[in-house]
Amino acid sequence: MSSGLVFAAAGAVLFAMGLAGIVLIGHLLRRILAFNVMGSGAFLILVGLAQRAGGADPVPQAMVLTGIVVAVASTALALALARRLHRLTGRTTLSATDSDPE
C-alpha cells in the first residue's frame, strides 16, 4: 500500500465527491468548488497511480501542471460567467427557464 496508491484512492473518492457535488449543488460558486475538487481528484489519481510502485515519474507530474493551469482557466471563466449572470439577473443559480427564448 504505497503512498501513491493511498493518494490515488483518496483521489477517487474526491472525484466521486466532486461529481456528486455537481449533480446536487445548485449554487454556482459551490458548484465551481465541486469542479475543482473533482479535478484535484483526477490529478491525484494520475500521479498516484503512476507512482504506485514508488519512484517519481515526471511525465504525469508535467501533465498535472498543465491540468492545474487549465483548471484555473476554466474556473476563472466560470466565475466571470457566474458574476455576469448575477449582475444581470441577481440570481446565483441556473433556473430551467432562463435560457428559453423570450
Binding site: S3, G21, L29, L33, R83
Partner: protein
C-alpha cells in the same frame, strides 16, 4: 504500519474531510475558506508524492489564486442578498 504510511493515511483523511465539508456547508464564505484549507492540504499531498513542482503550483495557483478569485466572487455575490441554497 510504517510512520510514513500512517501520515499519508492521516493526510488523505484530512483531505477528504476538508473537501466534504467545503462542499457540504451552505454558507458560501466558509465553504471557500475550507476549500483553501483543502488546497493547502493538497500541497502537502503533492510533497508526499515527491512532486515539488506541483506542490508549488498548487499552493500558488490552486489554493492561492483560485482562492482569491473565489473570495472576491463571494464578495461580489454577497453584495446582493440571495436565498437560494
Amino acid at each position: 504500519m510504517s510512520a510514513s504510511l500512517a501520515f499519508d493515511l492521516l493526510l488523505a483523511a484530512a483531505l477528504l474531510w476538508s473537501a466534504w465539508r467545503a462542499l457540504a456547508t451552505p454558507d458560501i464564505f466558509r465553504a471557500v475558506v475550507l476549500f483553501i484549507v483543502f488546497g493547502l492540504l493538497l500541497t502537502l499531498a503533492w510533497a508526499r508524492l515527491a512532486a515539488p513542482d506541483i506542490a508549488l503550483a498548487e499552493a500558488a495557483i490552486g489554493a492561492g489564486l483560485t482562492g482569491a478569485l473565489l473570495l472576491d466572487a463571494v464578495g461580489a455575490l454577497g453584495s446582493r442578498k440571495d436565498g437560494a441554497p
